[in-house]
């Protein structure tokens, strides 16, 4: 660990804390969200420095990109519903009681972290020992889709549940929007094939290099968000069953694989080593489609296919 590297790490760590502080403290909500997106990009850099490229990809695409898009879209809707509500009426910025408590708690947490640091006891050895039987050679993908496949199954279900809840609330009636300019439309016609290709590559590469279903789904979802911004809409005949199939096929396929393995007399989500690679690719492909569709539909806000009031 050279002095230069430590310096870079220290600057990055300080920059993260400072950006988070500015994002929470600046009086204008729009600027706060933009600062938060910058914070997400800096987080992606921190993951790279922590030798976690898979997490860096997920952070850049989801943590910075799609969360930022969702926040900005919500801010625009908020502006339409309650124009006065977009100014943040902050309470007094510094309250001594809670702030002091938090500083003390933070100091305690910091000491706990420092006391845990010298222990290099991780699960690297166990993962490396089983990697050969997992069907993939990227350890993070092996953990996500094989060793801890149960977590990932529940995670895909959480995404589905969030969408169902958002749809059931119907917070905003669909509206007729003014068509955007032709530039975005033209750009998207050029960009869309590239984004689809990038997503497919991330999905395929996830088995042996950084990448995987979540990163690929986020890139594909971002393509969907861009299409929505350019004013593209699904044809009415696609907004019914086809869209719902695309949303449900990831969790559904995952559950079917789990169920088939149980029927075959194996423990939950324990693939036979000979089939593991193929099964993981199948689950990841279906999950990529569902994640992309779910994220894009969440960005749209209203249920696709709902008719705007004339």
């Amino acid at each position: 660990m050279s002095l230069l590297q430590t310096g870079i790490d220290a600057l990055l760590a300080l920059g993260l804390v400072w950006l988070a502080w500015r994002a929470l403290a600046c009086p204008d909500l729009f600027r706060g969200i933009v600062l938060f997106i910058a914070f997400g990009l800096l987080m992606a850099l921190a993951w790279v420095r922590l030798e976690a490229p898979d997490v860096a990809l997920a952070e850049a695409a989801i943590g910075a990109g799609l969360t930022g898009a969702l926040l900005l879209a919500a801010l625009a809707r908020l502006h339409r519903i309650a124009p006065a509500g977009t100014r943040a009426d902050t309470r007094e910025a510094w309250r001594n009681g809670p702030a002091l408590l938090l500083v003390l708690a933070g100091a305690g947490l910091g000491l706990a972290v420092l006391s845990l640091l010298p222990e290099p006891a991780g699960l690297q050895a166990q993962v490396a020992a089983e990697l050969g039987r997992s069907g993939v050679s990227n350890p993070v993908t092996a953990v996500l889709l094989n060793f801890r496949g149960y977590d990932t199954l529940l995670e895909v279900l959480v995404l589905l549940l969030a969408l169902l809840a958002a749809w059931s609330l119907e917070a905003e009636p669909p509206r007729r929007e003014a068509p955007p300019g032709p530039v975005l439309d033209l750009l998207l016609r050029l960009l869309l094939p590239v984004l689809v290709l990038a997503a497919a590559y991330l999905l395929w590469a996830g088995a042996h290099a950084p990448g995987g279903a979540f990163q690929a789904g986020a890139v594909l979802g971002a393509a969907g968000v861009l299409a929505l911004l350019a004013g593209w809409r699904l044809q009415p005949r696609l907004t019914g069953l086809p869209l719902r199939l695309a949303i449900a096929i990831g969790p559904g396929g995952f559950l079917l694989v789990a169920w088939a393995l149980l029927l075959a007399g194996r423990p939950l989500l324990e693939y036979p080593p000979a089939l593991a690679g193929a099964l993981i690719l199948l689950i990841e492909t279906l999950a990529t489609l569902s994640i992309a569709a779910t994220l894009a539909v969440l960005f749209q806000g209203s249920r696709p296919g709902a008719e705007p009031p004339a």
């Binding site: 994002a23 929470l24 997490v55 969702l70 640091l117």
Partner: protein, 106 residues
């Protein structure tokens, strides 16, 4: 102190910042920003503690954090919808129900 330790400590600071923002900000969009920053802090602590050792980085916390990022974006999306619904019905994006007087924008 290694680089990973620095990030773990930055994570602690982010957790505290997020908690503070969650407590003192009235606006629900800011509360959601604060929750996201709190979550990022937790992720940094998790990976920073299992940081690059002699045996290389530990893939298990990495996988957990990727799961966490996706769950966080799901929860944020749902929180934003709830905020919009609340604003449509209550006229303001806050949770204060004890404000005396009438809301001028209602």
């Amino acid at each position: 102190m290694s680089g990973a330790g620095l990030y773990a400590l930055a994570g602690v600071a982010l957790v505290m910042l997020g908690l503070y923002g969650l407590a003192v900000q009235a606006h629900l969009l800011r509360k959601l920003l604060a929750v996201n920053i709190l979550g990022s802090g937790v992720f940094l602590v998790l990976v920073g503690l299992g940081g690059p050792a002699q045996a290389g980085p530990d893939p298990v916390p990495h996988a957990m954090v990727i799961t966490g990022i996706v769950v966080a974006v799901s929860a944020t999306a749902l929180g934003l919808v709830l905020m919009l619904k609340l604003t449509t019905t209550g006229g303001r994006p806050t949770l204060e129900d004890d404000t005396p007087g009438e809301d001028p924008e209602a």
